[in-house]
């Protein structure tokens, strides 16, 4: 198996693509492959992961052109002619190799947001979103308009709007729901079927009908 990795580190003038020849079982995950390369072939290769079972959302990468959680993506399902190309998510600043800075997403959740880690027993996680950032990478608006709040944050705002009948003003502004142009790749690529695209449009409908207050 040939693993091609997009590399970039601070100080480099341009990214480069490194090719690693690795033994691989079709049933193992792409993340296993990346880890093996970093352990055995190139310890300077940087990437993120935690849970290894599709829950923490840390391991999102672009695999052969498609955004995926690499810990639950099998090599045999994505390899093309024995080649897997791994790149960092789009739409975020690359920190090093496959690691991106997701603060444009995390910083938009208010402090009381019920993320997976902060979940209380009486509510669902963050309504199933694992905060992987894949929807940002897939969204042509998020990738070209840095001020856009982004799919998962707006989908979160939809749930809050339904529960509380109000949304913060930025959600109802140009950098909020009105910038979405219905490309729906966020929903198509979301690993947990959270349907951010549909939720953005439902929130728009609520706003158009005056059914939620903008505060």
């Amino acid at each position: 198996m040939r693993l091609v990795v997009r590399r970039w580190k601070e100080g480099w003038r341009a990214p480069r693509y490194d090719v690693f020849e690795v033994e691989a079982d079709p049933s193992e995950s792409v993340l296993d492959l990346v880890e093996r390369v970093s352990l055995k072939l190139d310890p300077t290769l940087t990437f993120e992961h935690a849970c290894h079972h599709g829950v923490c959302g840390a391991c999102g990468m672009v695999v052969n052109g498609v955004e995926r959680l690499t810990c639950v993506t099998r090599v045999g399902d994505v390899a093309r002619n024995g080649v897997i190309l791994v790149e960092p998510l789009h739409g975020f600043k690359v920190v090093s190799d496959l690691v991106v800075d997701k603060s444009r997403m995390f910083s938009r959740y208010p402090d009381d947001t019920r993320t997976l880690e902060r979940v209380a027993a009486q509510v669902e996680k963050l309504w199933d979103c694992v905060e992987c950032g894949i929807c940002y990478s897939a969204c042509p608006v998020a990738c070209s308009y840095p001020s856009y709040l982004g799919p998962s944050v707006l989908a979160w705002a939809f749930h809050r709007a339904v529960e509380e009948g109000r949304v913060p003003a930025p959600v109802a502004s140009r950098s909020g729901v009105w910038s979405c142009h219905a490309a729906f790749d966020c929903s198509e690529k979301c690993p947990v079927n959270f349907q951010p695209g549909e939720k953005i449009m439902r929130l728009r409908r609520l706003l158009l009908r005056g059914a939620v207050e903008v505060v």
Binding site: M201, R205, L208
Partner: protein
């Protein structure tokens, strides 16, 4: 973020869903139509230079190349219109559960209108 980067993310097709490709086609068609509007303004303003100049300009569009141009323009127009209608409905929060069927219907309508348009352009106008 530059225009080049924005265009690259809008018009990305590798690994994209039918929805994203449709978004890219709609945007591309919109940009071409906006450009055409400018060209159209220029060609209309040749009237100011006299009727013979305008007529000579129109002759270009009656040539085979002109007909190909018309077909391409029509294709962009129907794609932008049909996909735009799909987008207007889902962007208003309507028919979201059926958005895939709606998108398929928009493409079918665009292709049907494209064929009808090509027949009219080549056999009636041509």
């Amino acid at each position: 973020m530059g225009l080049g980067e924005a265009l690259r993310s809008w018009l990305r097709v590798r690994g994209r869903s039918a929805e994203h490709v449709s978004f890219a086609v709609r945007r591309l068609a919109g940009m071409v139509l906006a450009l055409y509007l400018v060209v159209h303004m220029v060609d209309i303003s040749t009237l100011l230079m006299g009727e013979h100049v305008y007529s000579a300009f129109l002759q270009v569009f009656a040539s085979p190349i002109g007909l190909v141009f018309d077909v391409v323009l029509w294709a962009f127009l129907v794609l932008h219109g049909a996909l735009g209608l799909y987008s207007a409905l889902v962007e208003a929060g309507l028919l979201l559960e059926r958005r895939k069927v709606l998108l398929a219907a928009a493409w079918a309508a665009a292709l049907l209108l494209l064929v009808v348009g090509i027949v009219v352009i080549l056999y009636v106008m041509g």
